[in-house]
């Protein structure tokens, strides 16, 4: 069964607490924004292939916080090597969720490798992720939400979603602002904590 991407992301970010979020470019960045723009979400506007590595750098810098990367199958395929890099570092606090619609959504819905037989969760498992799962139901999405907050990572989830284009909900475009608000929120969050 394939899921609606917005339902998946809304469920994953419900009760997000002090979760730190990096979103890959394109639809995943719109999805996290549709779930509620947040200073501790860093939506990417470019740097295709870099989302998981950005999540790794953040997870290593903030070992007491939970870090979630939400990205797409095309973006993940461009940075496949980063799965091996994460598999070696094995940060317990990192989850990488790929919203897999088997398409390059921003360029006209052309097929990606996952439409043609490549098993991303299998790659993550082989690369050394503590847990790698394929998700095809909202019940499993709920389980994934628990893992994001409490599981022993690194966790990888390939969530099969419909090749649909929900209405655009765009995050702020200024990368300097997105970086600044994230760092400020983290610093004030730390002071309060």
């Amino acid at each position: 069964m394939k899921l609606h991407r917005r339902d998946v992301v809304r469920r994953l970010l419900a009760d997000r607490g002090d979760l730190l979020v990096v979103a890959g470019l394109g639809a995943p960045a719109w999805d996290v924004t549709a779930a509620g723009d947040h200073p501790l979400t860093f939506p990417m506007w470019g740097a295709m292939g870099g989302a998981a590595m950005m999540g790794l750098g953040l997870a290593l810098a903030q070992p007491k916080r939970r870090v979630l990367v939400v990205t797409g199958d095309g973006e993940m395929l461009m940075g496949l090597g980063s799965l091996a890099t994460i598999g070696v570092q094995r940060p317990r606090n990192l989850t990488v969720v790929v919203l897999d619609n088997e398409r390059y959504g921003e360029t006209g819905m052309q097929k990606t490798h996952t439409a043609l037989g490549v098993d991303l969760a299998g790659v993550a498992k082989a690369a050394g992720f503590a847990r790698a799962m394929r998700v095809t139901s909202m019940a499993r999405v709920a389980q994934l939400a628990r893992l994001i907050h409490r599981g022993r990572g690194p966790v990888f989830a390939q969530v099969k979603v419909l090749a649909e284009k929900p209405p655009l909900v765009l995050p702020p475009k200024d990368g300097v602002q997105l970086k600044g608000r994230f760092r400020d929120a983290l610093a004030s969050n730390r002071r309060r904590g």
Binding site: G50, L60, Q62, R65, L186, A187
Partner: protein, 177 residues
Amino acid sequence: MTANASSQPSGWTADAHRFLRTARARQIAVVPDAGLSRLLALCESDRTMRVVRLTTEEEGVALLAGAWLGGEKGILLMQSSGVGNCVNMLGLALACRFPLLMLVTMRGEPGESNPAQVPMGSAVERVLDAMGVQVSRTEREDEIAFLLAAAFDRAYADESPHAVLIAQRALGFKEFK
């Protein structure tokens, strides 16, 4: 000039490591090169540092951006061929003004014995410049640690990308024998 880079005695690595430790560079992102192996070994044995082995150098640009989001500093170590792998990802550092320091050991310079290294090696400075990365280059081993420290401090003060290029002449040429 014909010595193997990895056996060349050099004091710059100890100075560079000491600086990075004092400056709290915590994430050491690397695709290895012979000329960087001693620095890498020092960082690996330093409990205040985390060496992150990359499959390709562009991973390090994104890693260090994420590190800075989380408040940590770092450095990206690579051979000059890796500069080409970084180009698109440098857009992240530039568009969002993330600090970045790349320490690059050069190949493909005059005296290079492998012709395959020449096209990228001879374009490294122009490529970095075209992307808006500030470059300093040295042919003297005793300048490396100073330039590294200056570029690191500037990168984190200005939140801007910098590269320090170490000429082949500074560390010795690789021979195939």
